[in-house]
């Protein structure tokens, strides 16, 4: 009986404490200082948005999940170091939020799929991204702001 009590006490002390998820905001602090971002940042941010960050820590696993979810095209998977452009990010956001888009999106979809240009236009229209050319680079601050607004949009809080 004594042994069981000691074992229980040991488990309660070390076992449960190790289960407590440590608060970690390091990634957001590092990201906020980045002048440009990469596809690795985009895949991580979209995975965070989808609530799968803890399970999918590697770029490859995040990308295969995003392909499976229909967010990334199976035949277009840039390397992790590839610089992220606003058009690419808009397309990821468009698909992650399952947006429908406007007339041009529907007209072009059968031939061209979701285009960067009209995905960005839709994201700008909804207030998720700021007006800019689709070839523009994405800063860390912008990526954090987009993640924030995606969440607000999904919760119906984006004004």
């Amino acid at each position: 009986m004594k042994r069981i009590l000691i074992l229980s006490l040991f488990l309660a002390t070390f076992g449960l404490s190790s289960m407590v998820v440590q608060a970690d905001t390091t990634y957001y602090r590092v990201l906020a200082d980045q002048k440009t971002t990469t596809w690795a940042d985009a895949s991580r941010v979209i995975t965070i948005f989808k609530g799968r960050e803890n399970q999918l820590t590697e770029y490859a696993s995040q990308m295969s999940y995003l392909v499976q979810e229909g967010v990334v095209d199976a035949n277009h998977q840039p390397s992790a170091e590839t610089t992220l452009r606003k058009g690419d990010l808009a397309k990821l956001v468009f698909r992650a939020l399952r947006l429908k888009g406007g007339v041009m999106t529907h007209v072009l979809k059968p031939w061209m799929g979701d285009t960067k240009r009209y995905s960005l236009k839709e994201c700008i229209y909804l207030g998720i991204m700021q007006p800019a050319p689709d070839s523009g680079l994405v800063s860390g601050t912008e990526l954090i702001s987009v993640l924030k607004r995606m969440t607000e949009y999904q919760e119906g809080q984006l004004s």
Partner: protein, 252 residues
């Protein structure tokens, strides 16, 4: 001589003792919230009832937030994905000075009004300073610049150029960032091409004036008021297009 030294010490002691550092207490924590204490390099998770003071930095993660109760009864709610520093939090006599430096993210501040003290509460952002006295406001810093929303009372929003705008109750105000508003770049490029048009094709003053007055609608001439586009406008466009075809960056 001894008397003078004693008085000097007494004077210094009085001055130093009236300026007191204040503290903020963590009321609620939700999710990933970390603090970097002033003078330290490590970040540690914030715990309930922890005391924060001048120089401390706070960082919140995704879907995480924290509520801070300041000693002057002001309450600050830090929203998800926010990074800020308690830059100044001091009481000097009856004046409580609070300055929060928000790098990115959103905070909502309910600033206390007190009969016994004067509150000087301000939020510094990359685009300016937002200051209030006895009110409730939200400050949102991101790629759009700084958004200020006044929930109660009035807020003064000062940009980096020193222009001050009042934001009344229920109103919102936006201060775009210096390099973070891509649309301003597009406009300036648009204006530049209009300027090229007027210089390249040798327009009359009347024609130049027409272009300046219709800068906003020039990309959609059908919207120009007054029954359509003057004949010279088509000529200008044609001339400009041909000059663009012959454009040589080396000889510019």
């Amino acid at each position: 001589m001894m008397k003078k030294i004693c008085f000097s010490f007494l004077f210094l002691f009085t001055v130093v003792s009236t300026v007191t550092a204040q503290q903020a207490v963590v009321q609620n924590v939700f999710g990933d919230v970390e603090v970097q204490k002033a003078g330290q390099s490590t970040w540690t998770p914030v715990s309930l009832n922890a005391a924060l003071s001048e120089g401390d930095k706070i960082s919140t993660g995704y879907q995480s937030s924290v509520q801070l109760a300041f000693e002057d009864n002001s309450v600050v709610t830090v929203k998800p994905l926010t990074q800020f520093t308690i830059h100044r939090f001091k009481q000097d006599g009856s004046k409580v000075t609070t300055n929060l430096n928000v790098k990115i993210g959103e905070i909502r501040a309910k600033v206390a009004k007190g009969p016994d003290f004067v509150t000087d509460f301000s939020v510094t952002t990359p685009t300016g300073v937002v200051s209030v006295r006895g009110t409730e406001k939200s400050v949102d810093v991101g790629d759009q610049g700084t958004d200020v929303e006044t929930h109660e009372g009035q807020v003064q929003n000062e940009n980096q150029q020193g222009d001050v705008t009042g934001v009344d109750q229920g109103q919102t105000s936006n201060t775009p960032g210096p390099n973070e508003d891509p649309s301003s770049g597009i406009e300036s490029r648009h204006e530049q091409s209009l300027s090229d048009m007027t210089t390249n094709v040798g327009l009359t003053d009347e024609e130049k004036e027409f272009i300046q007055d219709n800068t906003d609608v020039i990309s959609d001439p059908g919207t120009i008021e007054g029954g359509g586009v003057p004949d010279f406008f088509d000529e200008i466009l044609n001339d400009f297009e041909s000059s663009e075809d012959n454009y040589d960056p080396q000889n510019r």
